[in-house]
């Protein structure tokens, strides 16, 4: 079989295969790939053979065959100090807790909106840092792989750190603006002060990177990779269920308020004018969800409405959850409404 120069297998998939394949398997598998590729050219033509080659390379990417990635990843683990792992885990846990904070049981705290919004935005905007994290991590792994070339500003991570810090500063300023709008001037000022302090502290670390001679593993790219991805995953998969949980929890508290109002009606023959009228006779519950301030009450014909506002996630809307025992809910300006799990409760999403 004559092998023409222009019929060589596609270079990029081949390079990818050579990179990930376990060294002990590389010779036989590369030979198999080549042989199958040239046979497929005769059978199907060049373009289909190239497509099938790419498919084979992708299908070979499996744990039994991958060597390089696992070998290099294993090098990181012993090189990372316990404290570095703890810091990484703690930061990611903090981001997760901040994101779901407004939906957890607890006393109302307006700051939880800002923290949750900031953490959610970290997830979105931080995705910009992921490519830098990947490239930086590759550099760190290469460094661990033991080539003896002297470090330059790329391999010591200096340029990566500068790029990341520029993007982080931009993201942080956007977050400060958000705090200013959602929470207020004091929170924004605190946020700005934290940014300035962080940049000041980081500037020393970054300038140290420039003079770095040590070839030990730098965990910074793991932060750039893990934090945005985890934040984004929590936003996508966890925030919806947690928001439902927060709503259901507040509704349970609301049921106690309904009982108090109905007891008042039984005794007085009319529904109370305001929620304050209940205070002297009945315990009035709070929503007891960190992101929900209070129950609102209004008489509505022969019945009444109880409602509360639950903050939704960034990019979504405000949610009003309302009770009316006659199902005569009236919320204006909503674009969608749904029945809650409990009877006579509905929630509305507003623009």
């Amino acid at each position: 079989m004559k092998i023409e120069r222009n019929k060589k297998p596609p270079r990029i998939p081949l390079a990818f295969f050579r990179w990930y394949c376990h060294p002990d398997l590389r010779e036989e598998l590369e030979g198999d790939l080549f042989e199958r590729y040239y046979k497929q050219i005769d059978k199907f033509g060049l373009s289909k053979a190239r497509m099938l080659f790419i498919r084979e390379v992708i299908l070979l990417f499996r744990p039994a065959i991958i060597g390089n990635v696992f070998q290099l990843t294993r090098k990181i683990v012993p090189d990372m100090k316990k404290l570095q792992w703890l810091k990484l885990i703690a930061l990611n846990l903090l981001i997760i807790v901040c994101m779901i904070l407004p939906f957890l049981p607890g006393p109302y705290d307006k700051l939880s909106y800002g923290l949750s919004g900031a953490a959610q935005l970290t997830g979105f905007a931080g995705l910009l840092l992921v490519p830098i994290g990947v490239l930086w991590l590759i550099q760190e792994i290469k460094k661990l792989a033991g080539n003896n070339r002297p470090l330059n500003n790329w391999s010591n991570g200096y340029y990566f750190a500068i790029t990341a810090i520029c993007i982080c500063t931009f993201i942080s300023l956007v977050l400060v603006l958000m705090l200013l709008v959602v929470v207020g001037l004091s929170a924004a000022a605190i946020g700005l002060a934290i940014i300035i302090f962080t940049i000041y502290k980081l500037s020393f670390i970054i300038s140290n990177l420039k003079q770095r001679e040590s070839k030990s593993f730098n965990a910074a790219p793991l932060y750039l990779l893990s934090t945005p991805i985890i934040a984004f995953a929590v936003y996508t998969f966890l925030l919806g269920p947690v928001s439902n949980y927060g709503r259901s929890y507040a509704i349970k508290q609301g049921e106690k308020l309904v009982d108090a109002i109905e007891s008042y009606y039984t005794r007085q023959g009319i529904y109370p004018e305001s929620i304050e009228s209940l205070y002297y006779h009945y315990p009035v519950p709070k929503p007891s969800v960190i992101g929900i301030d209070e129950f609102r009450y209004e008489r509505n014909g022969n019945a009444y409405n109880i409602s509360f506002i639950q903050w939704q996630h960034v990019g979504a809307t405000e949610e009003i959850v309302m009770y009316n025992k006659n199902d005569e809910h009236n919320v204006k300006g909503h674009f969608a409404s749904y029945n809650a799990d409990q009877p006579h409760w509905r929630y509305y999403w507003l623009d």
């Binding site: 092998i3 590369e30 198999d32 042989e35 299908l59 065959i65």
Partner: protein, 106 residues
């Protein structure tokens, strides 16, 4: 009784190695399965099973010759071991006993 139970694809690969009788390597196994069973198989799937069978000591392997079509890379030939042959036979006996146990209906 063999120590190992074979999965469906493991059984197919082991039988194919036996059929190829000393000529079994990645590409030849893939082609033999595709020709005989009319079933698309990837090198990745075959390799995973071959490594598993080798770990179970049902097959053994050795490097063979390099050819130009293989870019000068050597083939790894697989042959079935005595344990592998016993396992295949046991599997066949089990299948047959199941077939024979099906009641004959009028």
């Amino acid at each position: 009784m063999s120590l190992y139970h074979l999965g469906e694809f493991e059984e197919i690969v082991l039988l194919t190695i036996a059929i190829l009788n000393g000529e079994a390597y990645g590409v030849s196994i893939v082609e033999e399965i595709e020709n005989r069973l009319d079933r698309n198989v990837s090198l990745g799937a075959i390799q995973t099973v071959l490594k598993r069978l080798e770990d179970k000591k049902l097959v053994r392997s050795a490097f063979g010759e390099a050819t130009k079509i293989r870019g000068g890379k050597r083939k790894r030939y697989y042959t079935i071991t005595a344990e592998g042959q016993r396992t295949v036979k046991n599997t066949k006996d089990q299948r047959l006993s199941l077939w024979n146990a099906i009641p004959k209906t009028a």
